[in-house]
Symmetry: C2
Subunit: 119 residues, 2 copies
């Protein structure tokens, strides 16, 4: 089996760095495609294709205005990723604590060594 399609879910869509860049750019306010092209420095067809992927997984909203299309990040669609990654928060907290504790033990150990040497 090959890799899952980029359009299969938000996780796959967001794996591409340029798409993350676009999402960041479109989070603040809606922009037309030309502005996005200028912002990311890819040529227009590539940007349109990335926007197509983002559209298909619901990561952006589009609105037509004359010959322009105004895109905007749909932050709601990023939320599942935030929540999944957030389930690991307690673990990295624990890991940090363990590292800190070890560091403190180490410091005590070192200062005891230092005192011993002074004698």
């Amino acid at each position: 089996m090959a890799r899952a399609a980029t359009t299969s879910d938000a996780f796959n869509a967001v794996a591409e760095p340029r798409r993350r860049q676009i999402l960041t750019f479109l989070a603040v306010d809606e922009r037309e495609v030309g502005e996005i092209v200028a912002a990311v420095g890819l040529d227009q067809p590539s940007v349109s294709k990335h926007l197509g992927v983002l559209r298909e997984v619901g990561l952006v909203h589009v609105r037509r205005n004359g010959r322009h299309r105004l895109y905007r990040t749909n932050a709601e669609a990023i939320r599942p990723l935030y929540e999944w990654t957030g389930t690991f928060e307690r673990y990295w907290r624990h890991q940090l604590n363990r590292v800190k504790e070890r560091a403190e033990v180490q410091m005590v150990h070192n200062s005891e060594e230092a005192s011993a040497k002074e004698k």
Copy 2:
């Protein structure tokens, strides 16, 4: 250009559902490969390959114990994803508020319509 390698960063590594499953399983406590195989229901070589990807991007730690290898999720490596997705939190809050406001306006509108009809 083809898609970026799954080993290029945590975003790409985590795009694969089985790898997310493995990370969740290994978050609580370290496990040997056989246990992971039983847990995810893939055959051993596939699991080993997924573990290889997770290893290469630092999403898991390994420890050898005799002929076993004990894997464990390195939650720290998931943190960047949590933080990136978290930058959109204020936007989905705003979006929620807008939806709520519209809903409330709509409800007022509806009840006014209802009152009007009653007359």
